[in-house]
């Protein structure tokens, strides 16, 4: 079957790609566009390592088809820093040592950014439930939650 031609926006840039009908958005990001910051931990939407933002909505890129990206705007971890300026969440994750192996980190950062855009002043419980779809096996989540709460406070100007 012929590949589909898809026109979309990735991290603010216009992007065109060809993909098979069964390729997921994650396959396309990683294998066609070489944006390997989004990780495949499960391929079934259970681990959140492939979290991306599609038109302001947090989704698992492994649960969306590449062809469904047509006409939409996709934000990945590669677009999170602004030039050489890290996003405050990225800085706080480093300061708090909120990562060990780091493979879940891109997905967690994307998910946390999505949270803070909706709720600039989350409680610990809200952070924990928002991030419940992002598995981390190394940290026990403690430093991740602290880093998100600290970022929220700083971004609120506190």
């Amino acid at each position: 079957m012929a590949k589909a031609h898809v026109t979309t926006t990735v991290n603010g840039d216009p992007v065109e790609f060809l993909c098979d009908a069964e390729q997921t958005l994650l396959d396309v990001l990683r294998d066609e566009l070489y944006l390997t910051g989004s990780k495949e931990g499960c391929g079934s939407g259970d681990c959140g390592a492939c979290s991306v933002i599609v038109d302001d909505r947090l989704v698992c890129a492994c649960l969306m088809l590449g062809v469904e990206a047509e006409g939409h705007s996709i934000e990945t971890i590669e677009g999170m820093a602004n030039g050489d300026q890290l996003h405050p969440l990225q800085t706080k994750f480093l300061e708090h040592a909120a990562l060990q192996c780091g493979v879940c980190t891109p997905g967690i950062l994307v998910a946390a950014k999505s949270l803070l855009e909706r709720n600039p002043d989350p409680t610990e419980i809200e952070v924990r439930y928002w991030l419940a779809g992002n598995l981390c096996r190394c940290t026990g989540y403690d430093k991740i939650v602290r880093a998100v709460l600290d970022t929220a406070q700083e971004m609120r100007g506190g």
Partner: protein, 765 residues
């Protein structure tokens, strides 16, 4: 966060005990870090594995002709491509592997021994074509009866996995084969005498289910084999030198012809100390003449990579009425999976290690079952045996009305204690962790109605081993640090701190790299909590080597004897006024002068690190049990552990927190569930539920520092001990809340609910 150390227990240090941003940090928060599956090579093929759908089956024949005829399929590999290997045990982490078994685990030979066992593999131009090809391979199986449980597998009429398996370690040598690969025994004193001294004796039986390490990054590699017999391999592993050795053996290569690069590693916990895909990818690349990339799906990770052993453990402990433990005895039966080599031996050795006892006997059985071959998982073998012992100790404390921390203090192993497994402990920190627990606000905090509190201690040996490190001084006085232990949780930061401390230079001037197998001498894997200790020791030695060279050059510049030069605060100085009046020469000064004074500076170390200090920890946990649903909620958790010296305290805390939460998963939810055909029913994160963020509270940490005298800065490994105490601590807390002791893990909602309902029925009757 609870009080944590500044890591300066061993005197004034400038860098040890500080918390700089890790050197690989920015790469990891921007998505730039390259993990196993993040690399693409030109002309690359995709490899996929065909796996046995049967738990136990003889493989009569394999016909791949239809697969090979499919356009886009480049090659197929099966058992026929791998030479058989004779029995030879080699170290892998804290465990041993046997090459006769490794070659069979990588690709089934005579029989498929578990569901998911590789039977063939395909390399094709795309994953889609590779998957289509797998469906075209015709395997003729003779399905055999299977066995999953250790007790069933030990029965005289059990189906045999290996028809020639004769139990080792028993006298006289058995004449008939069985599924018991090995029996091990550790004895101290005479348990009969010890039990005779006891006023109270409690014996209990426990069971634990296989659990998976659950690293978020699946196994992945790219092999690129060239026509001249050389190959490069990129893979996610805890030990690329070990991968090189295993792959070279399986492919009949010289190790010098195989260059292995460790990618960034997305978690391992022991599970990435062995090879699965790597030899297969090399074989497919050899046969196709193209690079081959292979990545496991999550389902394959669950079905075919190493879980931790499921176990049956029997424990008997005797005690006097005033709380002195007089004897401990245990029988451990551990699932090895399809090939021998469960961690039953370390399980035996750790079982009673937290106690200073005169009479101990532990017997362990290594038992084959039709499940994936177990792999190391964080303190392999210890969580299962110590769960049982720490549960019985708690029951003994309740029986005499003694505080469980007091009971442990009364019997705690300490410096001079002769452990049942042989050695006499040097300085160890168990008593200190127990004292911290007793004094901790958590231990005294009031509990809410229906909640319970539990404590437990845990032990792990830690290891050293063969390790190299290099420090390359750049012409501007900055340093490239090359280590051979893959960085799984921040060890590059810790190694840079140790180098900075030794050289007296700013840690920011040292940039680390994990070298490939051709850039450094043989270095054993990241495992056994050895990296901060052993690679740290190597880095310190390499630093001292560089300082010797720097002092020699300064002596040359100043034209004074080398012993009249000292190195302090990152510069060479005349050692006292008799040496002469010279301005100090900094690292940068000497680097600039290198060409004129004798050439470049390279500090090297190649050591076999000895004297890893064991680490003890004590955990306190509060639980709430929902009587309607059976769900156990962790309300509060405190980890107290001896780190020797915390080099980068944030990453020590991270190890304590992460280990505790893995233990919470093991205690409350995680288990492999099989159907009656021996097929795994929950090979995904939805049904094999590891703790998620909303399942757990903050994990408080207290770092105790009892320096390890054999390490220059007092470092002990910290990574493994934290997974040992949680299961017993939580079971003890649940008992405190419900008055019911759970001896079978996990304490999942259905199991807890059933126990509550059974109790209601019993009460009503």
């Amino acid at each position: 966060m609870a009080a944590t150390s500044n890591g300066k227990a061993n005197g004034a240090t400038r860098w040890i005990g500080t918390r700089p941003v890790r050197p690989d940090g920015v790469d990891k928060v921007t998505g730039r870090a390259r993990f196993g599956a993040d690399v693409h090579l030109p002309n690359m093929l995709v490899g996929k594995v065909l796996r046995s759908p049967h738990a136990h089956a003889r493989i009569r024949s394999i016909d791949a002709s239809a697969a090979l005829a499919l356009p886009g399929v480049k090659t197929v590999t099966t058992r026929d491509d791998f030479n058989d290997l004779s029995s030879e045990f080699v170290p892998a982490g804290e465990m041993l592997v046997n090459y006769r078994d490794v070659v069979r685990n990588v690709m089934a030979r005579e029989k498929a021994l578990f569901e998911g066992h590789p039977v063939a593999a395909v390399a094709a131009v795309s994953e889609k074509v590779a998957r289509e090809a797998l469906a075209l391979i015709d395997v003729d199986y003779e399905v055999l009866p299977h066995v999953l449980d250790v007790v069933d597998a030990m029965a005289p009429d059990a189906p045999l996995l290996h028809e020639d398996m004769i139990t080792a370690g028993v006298e006289p040598t058995p004449t008939k084969p069985s599924n018991i690969a090995k029996v091990v025994e550790f004895k101290l004193g005479d348990v009969a005498e010890g039990f005779a001294e006891a006023d109270i004796v409690i014996e209990r039986e426990f069971s634990t289910q296989p659990v998976h390490q659950g690293y978020i990054e699946p196994h992945s590699c790219i092999a690129n084999y060239s026509e001249d017999g050389q190959a490069e391999l990129w893979c996610t592993t805890q030990g690329h030198f070990v991968v090189r050795g295993h792959c070279a053996k399986l492919l009949g290569m010289d190790v010098s012809k195989l260059r292995v690069t460790a990618s960034e590693i997305g978690g391992g916990f022991g599970g990435k100390t062995v090879v699965y895909l790597e030899p297969v990818a090399l074989m497919l690349s050899r046969k196709s003449g193209q690079p081959v990339k292979m990545t496991m799906s999550r389902e394959e990770v669950f079905r075919a990579s190493g879980p931790a052993a499921g176990t049956r453990v029997w424990v008997k402990i005797g005690m006097t009425n005033d709380g002195r433990i007089t004897a401990g005895e245990a029988v451990l039966k551990y699932q090895a999976g399809a090939f021998q080599g469960s961690p039953v031996q370390p399980g035996c050795m750790c079982a009673f290690a937290p106690y200073d006892l005169n009479h101990v006997k532990v017997v362990g059985y290594d038992v084959l079952v039709n499940r994936p071959k177990v792999a190391a998982y964080r303190a392999p073998g210890a969580p299962q045996s110590e769960f049982a012992v720490e549960s019985v100790v708690d029951e003994l404390a309740k029986r005499i009305g003694m505080d469980p921390v007091e009971l442990r203090l009364k019997n705690a192993a300490k410096q001079g204690t002769k452990a049942a497994y042989g050695p006499t402990f040097g300085p160890v920190g168990l008593v200190e962790t127990l004292e911290e627990a007793k004094a901790h606000e958590h231990y005294r905090a009031p509990l809410k109605e229906g909640q319970g509190r539990g404590v437990a201690s845990g032990f792990w040996f830690n290891i050293g081993g063969e390790t190299c490190a290099t420090l390359n001084l750049g012409e501007d006085g900055t340093i490239a640090l090359v280590a051979g232990t893959p960085d799984i949780g921040g060890s590059r930061a810790s190694l840079c701190l140790q180098a900075a401390e030794t050289l007296g230079v700013d840690v920011e001037r040292i940039r680390p790299l994990i070298g490939d197998t051709s850039t450094l001498g043989y270095t054993f894997l990241t495992g056994g909590s050895r990296t901060a200790f052993a690679s740290g020791m190597a880095v310190v030695e390499a630093g001292k080597d560089m300082i010797r060279q720097l002092c020699e050059r300064a002596a040359k510049v100043w034209d004074i004897p080398v012993d009249a030069v000292e190195w302090a605060d990152g510069e060479a100085r005349p050692a006292g006024s008799n040496a002469g009046e010279f301005d100090p020469l900094s690292l940068a000064d000497l680097a600039r002068l290198a060409g004129k004074t004798g050439g470049p500076f390279v500090g090297r170390a190649q050591i076999n690190a000895q004297g890893a200090g064991p680490s003890f920890g004590t955990h306190i946990v509060d639980v709430d049990v929902d009587r309607e649903t059976g769900r156990v909620t962790i309300e509060r958790y405190t980890v107290i552990q001896d780190a020797g010296t915390a080099v980068h305290p944030s990453y020590v805390e991270g190890q304590l927190q992460g280990g505790a939460v893995q233990g919470i998963g093991w205690a409350l939810n995680e288990e492999y569930i099989y159907d009656d055909k021996g097929r795994l029913q929950n090979p995904g994160f939805l049904d094999y539920r590891i703790p998620v963020c909303s399942d757990v509270p903050m994990i408080d940490t207290v770092i105790v520092e009892v320096p390890n005298p054999t390490h220059p800065y007092g470092v002990r490994g910290v990574g493994e001990t934290p997974i040992v105490p949680p299961m017993a601590a939580i079971a003890n807390a649940v008992e405190d809340a419900l008055g019911m002791r759970f001896m079978d893990l996990p304490m999942s909602p259905p199991r807890v609910l059933k126990a509550l309902e059974d109790a209601r029925i019993a009460e009503a009757a």
